[in-house]
Symmetry: C2
Subunit: 205 residues, 2 copies
């Protein structure tokens, strides 16, 4: 990596935190540019034209190239490091948990946190409010599956910390802000403690 | 790969087709086991205990190990092949499009196809029916972003076919079954023709 990566981020976003945690665990220096997603700073014509046509953060900038999607940015930083298992199945299995995170976990656990903590329940649309029960169930299912998988395991893949753990840690350790109590998931609680104890760990801002 | 991979699938699923298309383009022989998701064959106690606790297909079985998540299975098969760019940014950018596919595209384009073609609009719950307009908009946004990216490009990443194309092709070429007309996305239509012309291409069953 010849250029110092620049993270376009909102510090309240767990997706952005994933990338900063990956960089911290690997000792990679990055710069940041901050945007307020609540006032639409990632939907301006300038942002859409120059950073991400999808209007979302995080975006990791490498020189004059822009990489959206949090888990892809983590991959960019961590490829070839101890956070990416080398063995063929294990490496694919790590990606499996990262796709699970974006499909089953984030749209439920992170979205409820965003709605309840930042937007505010009284400001939600009627349709958003109607979706809360289904997201509560689906988020709980994702947490239960994680808890089950962690029985007798220290980390998600190959019993070593990997990007799968970082990706899932980001919104899981904030789950209570979305109304998901973690007291019913003891294996998750133990795993959260293990992640926090990793050398180089940084908390969310 | 010492064992012949076994794909646990429903042939109507575009997520399963991705894996078969990857294998076909690479000349990898795989076996299949078929399930009918419409009658709950991936939610049986046996399936949950032995194949995937998440109750979903596809799952790629390698010996006695099981790999859920379609894009992770494609990665397992294609790692080290011409379908995965070697250059660091390009490789991460390929994953970026695969995460985009699972987050922005599949939950809209594929879900509407499943609801309208297989479940039937009259069998949808009231909540599902209420979600159709939002999914129609979000799916259209995903297709528009793809069309924009493909202006002046032959493939999504590094102008060579990669897993990003396979992942996005699966449900894009079926988008009309979900009510998304492709006539407004000429760059997508040209790209679909290019994918169909790749050596080893197989159509969906």
């Amino acid at each position: 990596m010849t250029d110092r990566p620049i993270l376009h981020e909102d510090p309240r976003s767990g997706n952005c935190y994933k990338i900063k945690l990956t960089a911290a665990l690997l000792g990679i220096a990055i710069e940041t540019r901050q945007y307020d997603i609540l006032v639409g700073e990632t939907r301006t014509p300038e942002f859409l034209a120059n950073v991400n046509l999808n209007g979302r953060i995080p975006v990791l900038q490498i020189g004059d190239r822009f990489l959206p999607e949090s888990n892809a940015a983590c991959w960019y930083l961590a490829k070839g490091s101890t956070l990416v298992p080398v063995e063929r199945f294990d490496q694919a299995d790590m990606l499996r948990w990262m796709f699970f995170e974006q499909y089953n976990h984030e749209p439920n656990v992170a979205t409820l946190r965003f709605w309840l903590r930042f937007v505010g329940e009284s400001n939600l649309s009627e349709q958003q409010r109607a979706l809360i029960p289904a997201k509560r169930i689906a988020g709980g299912d994702a947490l239960a599956l994680m808890n089950d998988h962690l029985q007798g395991r220290e980390y998600f893949v190959a019993d070593e910390p990997s990007l799968a753990d970082i990706s899932l840690f980001a919104y899981t350790h904030l789950a209570e802000e979305g109304g998901f109590g973690l007291e019913n998931y003891p294996a998750i609680c133990d795993w959260i403690d293990r992640i926090r104890a990793l050398p180089g760990f940084i908390p969310m801002a």
